[in-house]
């Protein structure tokens, strides 16, 4: 704890500065603390009420954080395998596109038209509806210079927020989680909702990012603990004598009980929307429940494609496989957005997709496409700038047979970190990238 001096000072004084850990009677402390619980169920978990760093947050002076944005949530959706951007956001009137894809070409009559010459894949009906409602936007032509075209290296670049020449042992989400934890000690900054091995991008120095496969129930053991701790000091004399850790442990146990109750309440609340029977839909439903439970989690990470080979890596017989994945994406994300929109939760949520790369323009002779470069990034949320952001890549100017990027993905990272979550992006990305106008003003 001495790594963070503000943390320690938070322990020895309450917000009036009257409480001293050693000197004051424990009972009074407990009473004061439970009074705070009435204000915000989670005490430490909710930014602003964190016992540690309380003063910082209340004054809004903490560096690199914007208190007005602290209830905002970021959801990252990883599309594993390299999504074919040209058959996701389809330039159906483009000659190069038409000529290069004898079997995979999607026609005007099939796609869901977005604007002149551009439409979404036939399986993305629901996504097209979100687009027209202004709740789904598309950032076109995203990538980076000299991008990698093999899976592990490209995925590593996207997951670390690649800084040339620098070895990074952590992912960009992990570093963001560390930053959030530093500013709101004791919180749960991020979780992974999925069934694959935890992605590298969630590697953090101090934050521990758990994997959640299904909505967590309140363990019975916690109920037992609640009974025992009710109206009772928990630590024996020897442990509690002037021991900040004993106090923290006590406080943390009581807060765990509070979280468990919140989780239970959120699980019991009526479901607002029917989710389709897709894996991604189930994961997103868990995300929605956790957002509603209001635990202070800032970043959720979900995945589509299975994590290993296959998935979006459509080298052969692309049409059916790609269509199935896009159907899963479209139906799941739409149900989720509709669900969150019912109680306006969507206004504090932003979902961003990414894949390790886009794919080549030309079909490869096996009714598939190969690893490419630029890709469209899909955004879903209640406060995004509607429509298409940036031009479609010019297919007359390719980069080794693939669409050429014009928008660096780290500019998007910067925007979601700083403009959306209110974090200092440079502390996570190392370089001062400029923002992309993706948010509604």
């Amino acid at each position: 704890m001495h790594r963070n001096p503000s943390f320690q000072s938070g322990l020895s004084s309450n917000r009036n500065g009257t409480y001293r850990s050693g000197g004051v009677d424990r009972r009074r402390f407990l009473v004061q603390w439970s009074g705070q619980m009435g204000l915000a169920m989670l005490g430490l978990l909710r930014p602003g009420l964190a016992a540690a760093g309380w003063e910082k947050h209340s004054e809004g002076t903490s560096p690199g954080t914007d208190p007005a944005k602290q209830d905002r949530v970021l959801v990252i959706l990883q599309m594993t395998g390299g999504n074919d951007g040209l058959n996701t956001v389809v330039p159906y009137e483009d000659d190069v596109y038409g000529r290069s894809r004898p079997t995979l070409r999607l026609r005007r009559t099939e796609v869901h038209r977005l604007t002149d010459g551009l439409g979404l894949h036939p399986e993305m009906k629901e996504a097209a509806r979100l687009f027209h409602e202004g709740r789904l936007s598309i950032v076109q032509g995203v990538g980076y210079p000299n991008s990698q075209r093999n899976h592990p290296e490209a995925m590593r670049d996207w997951q670390t927020g690649y800084v040339p020449g620098l070895h990074v042992p952590t992912g960009w989400i992990g570093r963001a989680a560390d930053l959030i934890l530093q500013q709101t000690p004791f919180c749960l900054p991020a979780v992974f909702v999925g069934r694959i091995e935890i992605p590298f991008t969630l590697r953090a120095k101090t934050a521990i990012i758990p994997t959640v496969a299904k909505y967590p129930q309140m363990p019975l053991a916690i109920k037992g603990l609640e009974k025992i701790l009710e109206k009772t000091a928990s630590n024996g004399d020897a442990a509690s004598a002037d021991n900040p850790l004993a106090e923290l442990a006590d406080r943390s146990c009581r807060q765990a009980i509070q979280i468990a109750e919140k989780l239970q309440r959120a699980a019991g609340s009526a479901q607002l929307v029917e989710y389709p029977r897709f894996g991604l839909a189930q994961d997103l439903q868990v995300v929605a429940q956790l957002i509603r439970a209001d635990l202070g989690i800032r970043i959720f990470y979900v995945e589509l494609g299975g994590g290993g080979l296959g998935g979006f890596d459509t080298h052969a017989h692309q049409a059916a496989n790609h269509g199935a994945l896009l159907r899963e994406f479209s139906a799941s994300v739409a149900a989720w957005a509709d669900d969150l929109a019912k109680d306006h939760s969507l206004d504090r949520v932003l979902l961003m997709t990414f894949s390790e790369f886009g794919r080549t323009v030309r079909e490869n002779g096996r009714r598939g496409t190969d690893h490419g470069a630029a890709q469209p990034i899909l955004l879903v949320g209640g406060r995004i700038r509607p429509g298409l952001i940036g031009p479609h890549p010019n297919l007359a100017e390719l980069e080794a047979n693939a669409p050429k990027p014009h928008t660096d993905f780290r500019r998007l990272y910067r925007t979601v970190l700083q403009e959306w979550l209110g974090l200092e992006a440079k502390a996570v990305l190392g370089l001062p990238w400029s923002p992309v106008p993706i948010l509604s003003s």
């Binding site: 704890m1 001495h2 943390f7 989670l42 430490l44 978990l45 070895h167 042992p169 952590t170 000690p185 004791f186 919180c187 749960l188 590697r203 953090a204 120095k205 101090t206 521990i208 758990p210 994997t211 967590p216 363990p219 019975l220 053991a221 916690i222 037992g224 603990l225 009974k227 025992i228 701790l229 009772t232 000091a233 928990s234 630590n235 024996g236 004399d237 020897a238 442990a239 004598a241 002037d242 021991n243 900040p244 850790l245 004993a246 923290l248 442990a249 006590d250 943390s252 146990c253 807060q255 765990a256 509070q258 979280i259 468990a260 635990l295």
Partner: protein
């Protein structure tokens, strides 16, 4: 001991041998055995109580014939472990059953301090060899430990340092070595990083073995920490081990591991430990000084560390005196944030308060329930009622009191103890065993039980 022990001590007095046998009781026996091992059993607590502190410590530092036989047997069995989960399972079994818990405790310590990078580049055989090497050198001299562990194939591969060419010295790994493993942040310059990298040139991992290739070694003169010479790896490890900043950094880490994470120790308190390391005392000797001391048996150390998931889970399971399936235990630990074999970064696992956030405690709640559920792979093996009866606790309330002594040495406020006892008293006789399981499930989540 007692309350007066909380009074500040002069640094030279702090590390003096603790001789106050009259204050020795179950609580302090629990403290000693928790710190130097994992969740003591009732017979271990009773033996320590009878022997007194110093004699107990004598035993903990001795390598008995039994311990040697156990290690030999485990080495043999472990050789068949072909996957990371299996390697974890064997290690956890060692922790559960070893007659010499200090060795496993120190292996855990160094596994986090001399951490691997990306283990996906490392085969199970190499990971096993790395852990075996740490286990072998964990209590020896610092320079031998560095020499043995830093040049492990697993270490070089996981940090991307498998080819240390003369033309391209690996500054990334040199930085890890200086910053994480030895002198610590701020204790070195960019020039030191370059010279360290040059000193390691010539080492390659070829077909999973470390080879020294002479023509790739930069034999030119180097200047490191104010000394000059044509240093190679040998000289480098000597320089690092004898560097005062290394000694102080290691002493500080040992202090956090054995004494307290609650306060930052002052220089005066660390200096006697650091100077022992510089003089070439073994890590074991320094640890021994620490745990035999007045400071160790004072309130400044008592329950002033947070249990990491391994300490927490073994603290729940080991006192039950049975073997539980350790492969699922390894998965449980991964979910709790401590995937053995895969530390999150080269800096190892975070410690202290990072382990007791409310969300992680909720996860401990989930696993406490799993451990004690009578139909889980763990719960099937655990029999708290039977164990209590075997140790002569027959009535329900005596059994709860036994468990309170076993797990927390009754260091709880009377109200909490009364509530737990009444939980069982009200249960009918048939459900007594389940009621005891529920007590254990709750005990594992009490704030005091989160602290070592």
């Amino acid at each position: 001991m007692g309350q007066t022990a909380c009074a500040p001590m002069e640094p030279q007095e702090a590390w003096q041998r603790f001789e106050q046998d009259s204050a020795w009781n179950l609580k302090w026996a629990g403290h000693l055995l928790r710190r130097i091992g994992f969740g003591p059993t009732w017979p271990e607590l009773q033996k320590a109580l009878a022997q007194g502190p110093q004699k107990t410590i004598d035993g903990l530092f001795q390598v008995s014939a039994e311990a040697e036989a156990f290690a030999g047997q485990m080495d043999q069995w472990e050789a068949s472990a072909a996957t990371l989960p299996q390697i974890r399972a064997w290690w956890l079994r060692r922790m559960l059953e070893t007659p010499q818990p200090l060795v496993e405790k120190m292996t855990l310590f160094w596994h986090s301090q001399l951490a691997l990078g990306n283990v996906r580049n490392v085969s199970p055989a190499l990971l096993r060899e790395y852990l075996r090497t740490i286990r072998r050198y964990c209590l020896g001299r610092l320079d031998s430990l560095f020499r043995a562990v830093v040049l492990q194939p697993a270490m070089l591969l996981s940090h991307g340092a498998e080819a240390n060419r003369k033309a391209r010295p690996n500054e990334h790994f040199a930085r890890v070595l200086l910053e994480q493993f030895s002198v610590g942040p701020g204790g070195f310059t960019e020039k030191d990083v370059q010279e360290t990298a040059r000193s390691l040139t010539g080492y390659f991992v070829l077909r999973e073995e470390v080879r020294f290739i002479d023509r790739e070694y930069d034999s030119g003169p180097k200047t490191l920490f104010g000394r000059s010479g044509p240093f190679g790896a040998e000289e480098l490890f000597d320089l690092l081990a004898r560097h005062p900043a290394t000694a102080k950094s290691i002493a500080r880490k040992l202090y956090r591991f054995f004494i307290s994470e609650a306060e930052e120790p002052g220089d005066a308190l660390l200096e006697p430990l650091a100077s022992r390391l510089i003089q070439g005392q073994t890590i074991g000797q320094v640890v021994e000084t620490m745990v035999r001391s007045k400071w160790f048996f004072s309130l400044a150390a008592y329950r002033r560390r947070v249990k990491c998931p391994v300490e927490w889970a073994l603290g729940v399971l080991r006192p039950m005196e049975v073997l539980v399936p350790t492969e699922p235990l390894g998965h449980a630990l991964a979910e709790l944030g401590q995937a053995l074999g895969e530390p999150p970064t080269p800096a190892g696992w975070p410690d202290g308060v990072h382990w007791i956030s409310p969300a992680l405690l909720l996860l401990r709640g989930k696993w406490s329930q799993q451990f004690w559920a009578s139909d889980s792979p763990f719960g099937q093996k655990l029999d708290p009622a039977g164990l209590a009866a075997r140790h002569a606790a027959k009535t329900p309330s005596a059994q709860v009191e036994f468990l309170l002594n076993l797990y927390l040495q009754r260091d709880l406020p009377p109200e909490v103890q009364n509530k737990l006892v009444s939980q069982v008293q009200w249960a009918s006789h048939q459900t007594n065993s389940n009621a005891l399981r529920q007590v254990c499930q709750t005990l594992a989540l009490l704030p005091a039980f989160q602290l070592a």
